[in-house]
């Protein structure tokens, strides 16, 4: 049986939300305030891909198919792409590329500040995502890429700080995030116990 080009299939799947948003913009079907729709869309998909990226390791452990780790990089880079579009749109449509206004937003609005911190952490991961960087950095690469955990926490904070009258969405994403983070903690504790027993 020929193997499906899973990388290619994944590419199409990950690009679909972007294509859908782009189509909405071109067809003018996003309503009178498309900027806000795309702002929310790119933000939501950045967070979803962040959570999906963190699902790879548990899936790999439980499915008995270690090969799926190959796809983690692609998921991570899509997440960063959505986050970067999110930021670029903010700079263009909300602050009109005005540096003083952008600075004011970053300094005065905590939800923007934490969003930016999350993005900066993700940037450092995206820049070091190549195999070459992985080889060069060795152990430090693993340490660096643990930044994904604080990035996730900041992204959730970014969402919580935006809650106005309904916390449903923030609650949902935070629950998934807690599950994924909790799992890591559980593994660590278990490993430590096993280490002591040996």
């Amino acid at each position: 049986m020929r193997r499906l080009p899973t990388g290619g299939v994944l590419f199409v799947v990950c690009a679909a939300p972007l294509a859908w948003l782009a189509w909405g913009v071109i067809a003018n079907s996003l309503g009178p305030d498309p900027v806000q729709v795309v702002m929310q869309g790119t933000g939501a998909w950045a967070l979803r891909f962040l959570l999906l990226t963190l699902c790879i390791t548990p899936l790999r452990r439980w499915s008995g198919r270690p090969a799926i780790i190959r796809h983690r990089r692609q998921l991570g880079l899509w997440m960063f792409s959505y986050a970067t579009l999110h930021l670029a749109l903010f700079a263009q449509a909300y602050v009109g590329w005005s540096a003083p206004l952008l600075w004011e937003e970053l300094a005065e609005r905590p939800y923007i500040t934490v969003g930016f911190v999350a993005w900066a952490l993700l940037l450092s991961l995206a820049l070091t995502s190549s195999r070459g960087a992985q080889r060069k950095l060795r152990r430090r690469w693993l340490q660096l890429h643990r930044f994904i955990y604080p990035a996730l926490v900041f992204a959730c904070l970014h969402l919580w700080w935006q809650v106005r009258s309904d916390a449903g969405e923030a609650l949902f994403y935070s629950a998934v995030a807690l599950l994924l983070l909790g799992l890591r903690l559980y593994w660590r504790i278990n490993e430590r116990k096993r280490g002591r027993a040996a």
């Binding site: 996003l30 009178p32 305030d33 900027v35 806000q36 009109g96």
Partner: protein
């Protein structure tokens, strides 16, 4: 940065309303009433053809600062599909989708508190005794977007006077209908609003000639999602002050608690006057996106003090520190 948007000579958005008006006028002439449409299937954005009964009213006269602006009107389909009415959900399109579940007929308004003649008024009785007029107002939402809307209504003071406010009355409190079984947003387990929705004004603000009770827009009765059958419009304040689907009005001696202010007092003040100099912790208020906005023409324009109505209303706040009383 100095990107000031100019409106083209004939804004495309003005063409749609024009045709609506013309058709409405010909309908009126022909004596045909009630082109109520099945809006449930969801027309395209900007589509002017959603429901409403034609109203009889005095059109806004160009040059009248209390009723008219040269700015391009926001298309009917945008005004009726892009709404904040959390009783029906927090998504912008939720109200258009679910507000039809609200019964608006029969409707009555109860007026009480510090008035000489408290009582209940049926909507038909009220409407038979007021003269409707058109008011083309800017609406500025605290979320930093804005629209230009041709309302049809009558000044709030016309209603208040009927109930004869006592000399001790200093504030007016308003309440929206609260009917859980017809308002799915109020049934959301994660919502933290203490229903019913409440708003308030100082009595002199309520009596100001700009303060309108609207029963229609674009010459037709209000769609439910825009606050049918009767809503407040206070054009120099952020949109959340313009409370929808009003069932109760009380005149009070003390400043009433309002919904958003109770929820987040550091974010939403009682006054909520549009003011580019007083920032909201979430949104910079210096600019606004005038809808419809698009990627190519974001329509990002500077926000004006009192939403451009300073000449009419600034005297109400003469001795007040607007940063403190936001």
């Amino acid at each position: 940065m100095a990107r000031r948007l100019r409106y083209p000579a004939i804004p495309s958005s003005e063409i749609t309303p024009e045709s609506v008006y013309l058709r409405r006028r010909s309908l009126l002439k022909a004596g045909i009433v009630g082109a109520s449409a099945a809006a449930a299937s969801g027309p395209a954005w900007g589509d002017p053809d959603t429901g409403g009964e034609p109203l009889d009213y005095q059109p806004a006269k160009p040059g009248n600062p209390l009723a008219y602006t040269e700015e391009a009107l926001t298309p009917y389909g945008d005004i009726t599909r892009y709404c904040n009415f959390y009783e029906f959900g927090t998504g912008k399109e939720d109200p258009a989708r679910y507000a039809h579940e609200m019964t608006v007929d029969p409707w009555s308004i109860e007026v009480g508190g510090a008035v000489a003649r408290p009582g209940k008024l049926h909507l038909e009785d009220l409407l038979s005794r007021v003269d409707l007029e058109e008011r083309i107002y800017r609406l500025r939402c605290v979320e930093a977007w804005s629209m230009v809307i041709p309302w049809v209504g009558f000044p709030l003071h016309a209603l208040l006077d009927r109930f004869e406010p006592l000399g001790s009355a200093r504030f007016v409190a308003f309440r929206t209908l609260y009917r859980r079984e017809e308002m799915r947003g109020t049934r959301s387990f994660s919502s933290i609003i203490d229903w019913p929705y409440r708003e308030g004004l100082r009595l002199d603000e309520a009596r100001h000639p700009l303060t309108l009770l609207a029963v229609g827009l674009y010459g037709k009765t209000l769609p439910n999602q825009n606050g049918a059958p009767l809503r407040l419009v206070v054009p120099w304040k952020y949109g959340f002050k313009s409370i929808k689907s009003i069932v109760r009005i009380d005149l009070l001696e003390e400043q009433p608690a309002t919904s958003w202010q109770s929820l987040a007092p550091d974010e939403y003040g009682f006054y909520a006057n549009v003011n580019p100099e007083v920032d909201h912790p979430r949104w910079s208020q210096k600019f606004e996106r005038r809808l419809p906005s698009s990627f190519l023409r974001p329509n990002r324009i500077p926000t004006q003090l009192f939403n451009g109505y300073a000449e009419q209303v600034a005297s109400l706040y003469r001795d007040m520190d607007l940063t403190r009383y936001y």
